[in-house]
Symmetry: D2
Subunit: 345 residues, 4 copies
Amino acid sequence: MTIRASIIGASGYGGGELARLLVGHPEVTLVHLGAESRQGEAMADLYPNLRGLTSAATGPSDAEGVARDSDVVFLALPAGKAMGLAPAMLEHTRIVDLGADFRFKDPHVYEQWYRAPHTSAGLLDEAVYGLTEFRRSEIRRARVVGNPGCYPTAALLAILPLLQSERLSAAGVIIDAKSGISGAGRGLSMDTHFAEVNENVKPYGVAGHRHTPEIEQELAVALGRPVTVTFTPHLVPMTRGILATAYLPLAGRITTEEATAMLEEAYAGEPFVRVLTEGLPQTKATTGSNFCDVAVRVDGRTGVAVAMSALDNLVKGASGQAVQNMNVMFGLPEETGLRMPGLYP
Amino acid sequence: MTIRASIIGASGYGGGELARLLVGHPEVTLVHLGAESRQGEAMADLYPNLRGLTSAATGPSDAEGVARDSDVVFLALPAGKAMGLAPAMLEHTRIVDLGADFRFKDPHVYEQWYRAPHTSAGLLDEAVYGLTEFRRSEIRRARVVGNPGCYPTAALLAILPLLQSERLSAAGVIIDAKSGISGAGRGLSMDTHFAEVNENVKPYGVAGHRHTPEIEQELAVALGRPVTVTFTPHLVPMTRGILATAYLPLAGRITTEEATAMLEEAYAGEPFVRVLTEGLPQTKATTGSNFCDVAVRVDGRTGVAVAMSALDNLVKGASGQAVQNMNVMFGLPEETGLRMPGLYP
Amino acid sequence: MTIRASIIGASGYGGGELARLLVGHPEVTLVHLGAESRQGEAMADLYPNLRGLTSAATGPSDAEGVARDSDVVFLALPAGKAMGLAPAMLEHTRIVDLGADFRFKDPHVYEQWYRAPHTSAGLLDEAVYGLTEFRRSEIRRARVVGNPGCYPTAALLAILPLLQSERLSAAGVIIDAKSGISGAGRGLSMDTHFAEVNENVKPYGVAGHRHTPEIEQELAVALGRPVTVTFTPHLVPMTRGILATAYLPLAGRITTEEATAMLEEAYAGEPFVRVLTEGLPQTKATTGSNFCDVAVRVDGRTGVAVAMSALDNLVKGASGQAVQNMNVMFGLPEETGLRMPGLYP
Amino acid sequence: MTIRASIIGASGYGGGELARLLVGHPEVTLVHLGAESRQGEAMADLYPNLRGLTSAATGPSDAEGVARDSDVVFLALPAGKAMGLAPAMLEHTRIVDLGADFRFKDPHVYEQWYRAPHTSAGLLDEAVYGLTEFRRSEIRRARVVGNPGCYPTAALLAILPLLQSERLSAAGVIIDAKSGISGAGRGLSMDTHFAEVNENVKPYGVAGHRHTPEIEQELAVALGRPVTVTFTPHLVPMTRGILATAYLPLAGRITTEEATAMLEEAYAGEPFVRVLTEGLPQTKATTGSNFCDVAVRVDGRTGVAVAMSALDNLVKGASGQAVQNMNVMFGLPEETGLRMPGLYP
């Protein structure tokens, strides 16, 4: 089987990483690489790691034309762009959207956090939140997958299995996350200037980051009731990686071993989630790979479970999970094209 | 006035940073630089930044001899060493101990967390916890100052003023801290190998880091009742800096402005704590300086106050605060020798 | 075809990178992973990127036993170890040695630069210097390949084709190279301590680095006469990558275009050397991949050609080239298991 | 004495570093901080390290008004701006220009390398090239100092004393320099994006960097004949620091000790140049300080002397040297306000 796949938004980091993964995917032919602002450039000029591996060049972002030639189109665009393109594209193709447009069931949640109207609210009902490990069967049939944000992927994989237990409380969950700079995208700003962010750690988006409602939505789905979470992201001076540290109040007695067993049970057989029984997650163990490492420690003294996860924000946190979802959508073994170790060191 | 000051443990990062600060201190003469393992080396060979500024060489760590020649001795030694040296030294000098030996009032707390007997428990009563901003008058008269740990300094400066309010709760306080690698000391280990920690973020000491009881002791003193805190440190790939993010449950209604006003009131007139009303703390704003930047944001939606602080772990988190305490002990203006901006970028 | 491959010295960075590449190699079964100092540990504990991809554990470094079970053994050992093991191993297997023991034709050159006797000088005649692009036919038949050093690989790929021209002079060649810290190995020293090497650039081994004679030997072979080169390596604060900048005096008139054409001609059809006609080599374009990027600029004003190359010191500079050589030795397509793009960013 | 000093171009890194140094200078009052694009902002908002140390805000860049209020004005502007402002300013004040406009004696050299006409050529004759150690007496009387570029400062301090000897040749000098990213300024570009330059080393400006003619001019002045140099700068992933490695062909027999003695003689009594007799220069030894470390090794085998230097590009390579020149111009001890150690680690 050969899947004809295209990317719209190929010049950003999400798009570049999709190209890296799809160039080596044994069941994919890359058809179109749309890049509005860098049209006509060799992909290898935009992403020099691809030199010698593809002679593809970027073309126009004519979404409907691209859709017509493709079995699946990956959209790697700024928030608010995908919703305009999707309806016409769906006449011809299936979509994995790496942005936020199709992550929410409730358009008002989108509108509240993204401060813009949602113009394709009619698609939200069928769109599937693409956290592969928890939505596999829906993804298989989906026309539109709303690929999760990088922080929500890390946070949800760490805590979803634990909140199934009544001994851990979803009331008062705190998530403190640390991300490499590539999460800010390839655009230029003081927040991505090397001299400003090197040797620097800083919080941002305190009490207002847009990934918060995604996490809350998925916890609410899992628990069957509304949940709020306090989420604080931080920028740390590295290129790739997210480390999420989540604090869950204990509602009963539970040991580290019992909590770990819950993670192990939830992820038994999962190809890309590794439960650590010794040692703690570290981003470097996942760099360049589609793995997410998770672990939990119960602090019985204070009555808090500390759940931790590490992943590469550009792979499992974005493009790798998107390819994983494509594999599911097209009935391929889920690891196809993704079973490579990260770089260490 | 010239203070005759000495350092025992001059070859580690704490000692090196003390030397950097004391070489430029207008009221200090450096008398002895004890360094057991690197005896007889020029300080400028151990710390090449000092070349051209001092011709001092390290000598033996004969504590009593050093004490006899000094008005104050800084001890920058592994845990458990200072308690053996202090009693004899105090016949001749005053002590600022950068280690943990004199931070606790209750020797059992030390023994429980450091898993070793405390052999100078008799001194704990008079030793003063050297968080300058909160213990100034006791420090002035102290013979022994137990200089605070780097994490407790950052955490306590962020949250102590807030917990004075009944609208913020000390029950369930969570502190998530991120530290540069120099905090691990100059010793060699896989945790300080560049290739292992560069491009890597990882938690460590979850539910068991030794700085936890320091924070709890000081909160208990301030609140007049026992307090437990959940504290998780992380290593981030930078040399200097700590960013602490503390989560305090709201016990009543409070706004960001009101919480910020509490910080401003607490630190009015303080030379080294800067309350940010706009923007958030970032470690880079403090690199190389004795400043600690603090800020708070109230997340009314979730009922949590997020208090943040940034400092240089080797300066305000260790040697700078030690010099600040020396200034207090000898009646000097507190900023003497410490009023320099950090490096930015 | 399945090649039974083993590694002796699996715990160091060369060994870990070999494991990363061989785990994903479609024609290889990993048989033994010898690691003297870390025997019996799961490879995934030594290299957490391998978790979920291999359950292999390290075993004893019984060289002859390993050899008996293997079609090829990779030796990733400190200088001087391989020469003792190789003779007995060659009864049973073929060897790719990542160290220096089999790189030199003349044992006296080894002895002079490595200050130790060469105890297997009898093998040097048949051992092949494994710079794949220039020794392919000899490598195919070799029992012992002396895999090139990281710096010589970078330097030689940049300058060998240029020195074929009489218009560029081999007299007075200067090579200034910049390497990431992983080149110093996984061992602990002040030179690998994060806080000492981060935010730091420094030269080392000036006028005496052991990679110098390798470069000189290969230039002499190519030119048919003795050559000396001035080689200065530098450590830069990154994990992976070497950038070599070579300065060749002009002996006649030549343009940048003509010099570039020489590189293009030399590397036409080479899968792993990319000649840049626009832009300059940068290490990041090669991170994690087996590519070496080369370019040249002629400074007509000063009469010097500047030849530059970039590669990943652990891949094309060590383990990747070793696997490339294995592919050649066993008649596999040279790109087998190595045709992956690097990580960018 | 109090010098009234002003900065025009206070928002860039050169200006910010001037502010850091002048805020702590005991003989200076900062009068105006001109910043065209960021007018009216608190300096502490632009440079958060200055918070608590200055309440100064940026004002308009009305050069003549600024000049009227100032004893000296530092210009930290893009190339080509200072030449337009200087003539009118000189009616009222003295100028230290951190840009290139007043570095060249011959306006045609400027015009050739900067590809723009020089509109104040009449001032070039009296302007003094501000390499303090070699132009002290002229600087003392200068109305306009053309403060040297960062690379030329590093390169010239390493090689000028050596070229006084006939045993070292100025023909064929090669300078290979490595700079931190702050050298590229605070402006935004792909070359300063963290994710693009972190974990990356790359050359740029090969055979054409604008600092080349500065080096050549000063060598020609010293030697009394024209000289060309091959100069290649590289970007390395750190914030501050330049390491220059210069290769000088031997024209006679000379030992490392003899060459080192030449450096020692040249810099005897110099407060800011440290000649290393053991060990090699490393940028980290100079970070944040005005020191330049130099050393030389003679490779007798190849007939090349390798001269090396390290400095902080923003201090001795720019703003520190500018303040040093101000001290000279106003008859202050040269170390005033500059005698602080760098940060290590």
